[in-house]
């Protein structure tokens, strides 16, 4: 293969023996192992790689790292297409396919660029002023067009085929960043004996050292450090791993990208791994990023950060141009000039400062590099790419001259990446000598080192890292190692010193010629900041939201500090008084898939299954989610659809006998000398005088006097009760009982234990229920005197202990049989087998719910914490003469003629149906607003041969017999109905006592 036109002979860190094929917009291209998508494109001579967000201006790469605002691509194909991937962060792999974004039909010829003609319209606040004001309706029309024109990459609609993992990790010291400071810190901490994790977002260790020539001293030091770190057993190195957020208690969330490994989800390999680390001590060594300079047309392709040009050269062996102008306000950019010179045709330096350190000037002179001081950029030549710059001198812009160039390396100084140190709420502090915001402090056990703190020189950064490593180890109780550190190369060049001479210039003079971009990704210019200031949005948080500055996918990494400087200038205040916007996680964009991890599909949340689950599946049960449980909805024996099946199952229960899995009911074993007193306090009705061997229905209230839960509780012995709760309320009830016992009444000698999973439960319901029991357990006495309605018996059949309680939810003769969960399937099958001659079959949740509606029993949709006992017709249950939870406020619960309470509703129009959630109105009343109530539960009643429902209606049973209208606006339905008693079947309960 031929190296691209940009590829130079400099060694770089690419592997020239491993060429890689990839494609951009379907065009076949090549690069090398070690390239990023960005460096491979630049090596191929690419300049325009995208169009800007708002004005569709041609853009090239601005940086070589995580801060790049311009080079966004959609990477991958089909259901693996990832939008808005940064070309600077995508490692090249064989066959990688990328598409450019926000350009139609191509980045070269972009119809959207007409937006640039309307540029005066698209200033700060443009959308709102234009479309949200008096002509609000037009916003609806324009919004879609604008969003399409200003779009980023499109998210895919297919399910993500990749696998993501989440895990937890624990360590003594976590070091974030493996630049010079991080390497020093990790070594110092690990040598002290602490367990250390070192997280680096790059695939290589070294940070900014990776942009140094591979033949230099710093590379020798870097490789020695890496070798030593790898040899330490207690040190774990995580590459491709970004710390995206720091949270309470030293918790850090790391995202490890494995995209370059091409993981196979079918083999269980994860594309990305989210690690939640709890570290005893944390070292921030996140370094600093370079800032652009702000001047007219500073966004032309070919204008990039000096550090980026240097990284492309030294790391990727790519010269981004042949004739370079280095434009700077500080010393660091000279390194780019010196490194580039041997590989390209010409280099000159335009320094905005009046004075340059003599040693720098001397070195430049010895290399034949022209340095112009007091430089001013009067203009940029070229549209699709930079062709030259017009330089002037001083404020007066005297002696204008055009310099032809195809690369401008700019440096506005360095901004520490203080993001993570601010996630805990500690504001950054402005350090004037560095013209930079540094961490304003650290949480206990957190330490900072290196460029993050403003230590921009290599030896100082390493020293600070070493020191931080010791402090962190000591914080965790380790004695710092006495052994010294691999001494870092001394400052090899005068610019690499702690003086870091910089003259902060937030905006070059003459910036109003052409658009001077501050935020490249969101197309925010100096002019926008001026407008925001004029219109009173000078506060940074306002400025950000008004201009959208810093609100792109890059979160303003290259723009925020320049914007602060410019706004501070407009307001006539110092940067230290301007403050910053709030840094919030994540530091870089995180895939939602990575955060979800394995909690997708069936694993979205835990699923509970009864011990009879497998039997249900094997016998034609169609399952349905009920809270956390999966329950049989209906069985195929009764019909192919739920509409048919549940009616057949209801007939079975009303006329023969059915069997239903009720294992999901909450079950609580209540024991202790004060158990009776305890239950008297938590239930509105009395349990202290309940005889042993008897069950009672009970209702619990909250302290606020409204409905909390209901269920039956059986007295097994003087000091022992067996409580059941609703399926949904099981967990809440247990916690509440524990709360009361442990905080309010610790003097009560009672223990509550959840036994929901210990017992399999089955309901045997129907007129032949007793026959079924007698056939299943011959020789046992189930007659009325031995086991009356609401009676309980413990029995042992064979060696199986059982608890049988005669209770009915359906209104038929019915029993609840509880057996140890592991024996559930055997007993269930035995019941069905011995009940076969009676026609016994299983029935599901739909029939269970419909049977109880015919009987007017309340369930989940009626156990509503907004309702009172009286609302549900349970007022007479409460024993107000004894104290119980909620009594005081229940006694004064809202009442009155307009209060809605429980009623039955029967459909008056054959051929029409009632629906759950329907809104109720009086007959003849306009159907408008919230109505007089609503339907809570509805079913077809095979017994009454009509739709019946229960619900809440203002005035309740005072309106018995009145005609109403059930409105269901979602389907445009109105159905005539009548208020009835909620008990549709056997109001005297004769069926229960047979």
């Amino acid at each position: 293969m031929t190296p691209g036109p940009g590829r130079v002979r400099a060694a770089g860190r690419i592997d020239r023996d491993r060429p890689l094929g990839f494609s951009l917009d379907g065009r076949a291209l090549t690069g090398y192992q070690g390239d990023t998508l960005a460096s491979a494109l630049l090596a191929g001579g690419a300049r325009v790689i995208g169009r800007s967000f708002k004005y569709h201006r041609p853009r090239g790469f601005l940086t070589a790292g995580v801060d790049d605002p311009n080079g966004l691509f959609t990477v991958g194909e089909g259901d693996r297409a990832e939008p808005n991937a940064q070309g600077t962060m995508v490692e090249l792999t064989e066959g990688l396919s990328a598409r450019s974004q926000n350009a139609w039909p191509s980045v070269r010829f972009d119809l959207g660029a007409v937006n640039a003609w309307f540029a005066p319209l698209l200033r700060a606040g443009f959308y709102y002023k234009t479309f949200m004001g008096p002509t609000r309706r037009s916003w609806m029309t324009y919004e879609r067009l604008i969003r399409r024109a200003a779009g980023l990459g499109a998210a895919r609609h297919e399910p993500d085929p990749d696998r993501y993992e989440t895990r937890y990790a624990f360590t003594d010291v976590l070091v974030i960043g493996a630049g010079p400071a991080g390497l020093g810190a990790a070594l110092a901490a690990a040598r002290s004996g602490a367990r250390v994790m070192l997280a680096e977002q790059d695939g290589l260790l070294g940070g900014t050292l990776l942009a140094d020539p591979v033949t230099g001293d710093t590379e020798v030091w870097r490789t020695r450090m890496e070798a030593e770190l790898r040899s330490l057993a207690g040190l774990q190195i995580l590459r491709h791993t970004t710390a995206v957020g720091v949270y309470d208690g030293g918790t850090v969330v790391l995202v490890t990208r494995r995209d370059h490994c091409r993981p196979d989800p079918a083999a269980g390999e994860a594309l990305q791994i989210v690690t939640t680390v709890r570290a005893k001590a944390l070292i921030h060594a996140t370094g600093a990023i370079e800032r652009p300079l702000v001047f007219g047309d500073n966004d032309r392709p070919g204008i990039m950060l000096a550090s980026a040009a240097r990284a492309y050269l030294n790391r990727y062996a790519v010269a981004c141009g042949r004739r370079a102008v280095v434009l700077t306000n500080n010393d660091s950019a000279y390194a780019a000039a010196f490194d580039l010179l041997p590989h390209i045709d010409s280099v000159m330096v335009a320094d905005v400062r009046r004075d340059v350190h003599p040693s720098l000037a001397a070195q430049a002179a010895s290399l034949g590099i022209e340095v112009q001081t007091s430089a001013v950029v009067a203009g940029v030549l070229g549209r699709a790419a930079v062709r030259g710059v017009v330089l002037g001198r001083g404020e007066g812009r005297s002696r204008l001259r055009s310099i032809a160039c195809d690369l401008v390396c700019m440096s506005g100084g360095w901004s520490p990446l203080a993001h993570l140190s601010c996630h805990g709420g500690i504001k950054p502090r402005y350090r004037k000598d560095r013209a930079a915001f540094v961490p304003g402090g650290y949480a206990p056990g957190h330490f900072g080192a290196g460029a993050l703190t403003g230590a921009f020189s290599l030896p100082t950064a390493v020293e600070e890292g070493w020191e931080a490593g010791h402090l962190a180890a000591a914080f965790c109780g380790f004695t710092p190692a006495a052994q010294g550190l691999q001494s870092a190369p001394q400052a090899a060049a005068p610019w690499d010193s702690d003086s870091h001479r910089i003259e902060p210039v937030w905006q070059l003079p003459g910036a109003r010629a052409g658009k001077a971009f501050v935020d490249f990704q969101n197309d925010v210019t100096v002019r926008d900041l001026v407008i925001a200031h004029q219109e009173g949005y000078g506060s940074l948080e306002h400025l950000k939201r008004y201009t959208t500055l810093g609100m792109g996918t890059d979160q303003g990494k290259t723009s925020n500090i320049n914007a602060l400087g410019i706004m501070a200038g407009l307001r006539g205040i110092g940067l230290e008084d301007a403050g910053t916007t709030t840094f919030r996680p994540p530091f870089t964009a995180v895939r939602v898939g990575a955060l979800a991890g394995r909690h997708v599909g069936r694993h979205f949340r835990p699923m509970r299954r009864s011990s009879l689950h497998d039997w249900h599946l094997a016998h034609g049960a169609q399952m349905i989610e009920a809270g956390p449980w999966l329950r049989p909805w209906y069985y195929l024996w009764a019909g192919a659809t739920v509409e048919r099946a549940y009616l057949e199952e209801m007939r079975l229960v009303r006329h023969a006998v059915g069997l239903s899995d009720i294992s999901t009911l909450g079950k609580i074993d209540v024991q202790g000398p004060d158990a009776a007193e305890f239950l008297d306090r938590v239930y509105v009705n009395g349990f202290a005088r309940l005889p042993v061997g008897k069950a009672r229905y009970g209702v619990m209230l909250s302290d606020a006097g409204t409905i909390f839960d209901d269920g039956t509780t059986t007295r097994l012995a003087d000091t022992r009760y067996f409580m059941t709760t609703t399926t949904a309320g099981a967990e809440e009830v247990l916690c509440w009982l524990e709360f009361l016992l442990q905080t309010a009444w610790p003097d009560l000698r009672v223990h509550v234990t959840c036994v929901t999973d210990e017992w399999a439960g089955m309901a045997i319901a129907g007129p032949r229920a007793r026959d079924a029991l007698e056939r299943a357990f011959p020789g046992q006495d189930f007659s009325n005197p031995t086991l009356p309605h609401m009676g309980c018996r413990d029995l042992v059949v064979g060696r199986v202990p059982m608890r049988l309680i005669r209770l009915s939810f359906s209104g038929e003769l019915a029993y609840e049989l509880y057996v140890p969960a592991g024996l559930g399937p055997a007993v269930w099958e035995h019941m069905l087998l011995s009940g076969e001659p009676l026609g016994m079959r299983p029935y599901g949740l739909e029939a269970l719910a419909a049977l109880r509606i015919e009987k007017g029993h309340i369930a989940g949709s009626e156990v509503d914490p907004r309702l009172s006992l009286a609302d549900l017709g349970l007022g007479r249950l409460a024993r107000y003469e004894k104290p119980f939870v909620g009594r005081e406020l229940a006694a004064r619960a809202a009442s009155g003629p307009e209060r809605a309470s429980l009623v039955g509703i029967e459909c008056l129009e054959p051929g029409k149906r009632l629906r759950g959630g329907a809104i109720l109105f009086a007959a003849g009343e306009p159907v408008r607003g919230h109505g007089r109530g609503y339907v809570t539960s509805v079913t077809w009643s095979p017994t009454l041969e009509k739709f019946i429902a229960i619900g809440l209606f203002a005035g309740g049973l005072d309106h018995l017999g009145e005609e109403i209208v059930c409105a269901f606006p979602l389907k445009g339905e109105r159905v005539r109905a009548r208020i009835t008693s909620p008990v549709f079947l056997d109001p005297k309960g004769e069926r229960l006592h047979v």
Binding site: G249, D703, F739, Q742, T743, E888, L889
Partner: protein, 97 residues
Amino acid sequence: MLAIHCPLCGERPYTEFRYGGDASKRRPALGTMAPEAWHDYLFLFDNPKGPHREFWQHDQGCRQWLLVVRDTATNAVGEVILARNAGAGAGEGPGGR
């Protein structure tokens, strides 16, 4: 992530716990007939910046209700004791009950 030092189980992540509300209020004694007392207890809360007494239950551990002092400004967790040892009648219920 918050870590809470359970007196029985040691330091555990807060995801093992259930928050149970403000523990600075005193629960009216059972049978207290004054509705105002219940109203104050159930519905009126301070919103302090700084140390805050609150209930947490280690519901995925020992199931004990704990009295935890948490700084609402920094999320730093201070003293943690078993609620049963805090004296009878203290506090508010889980989820505002």
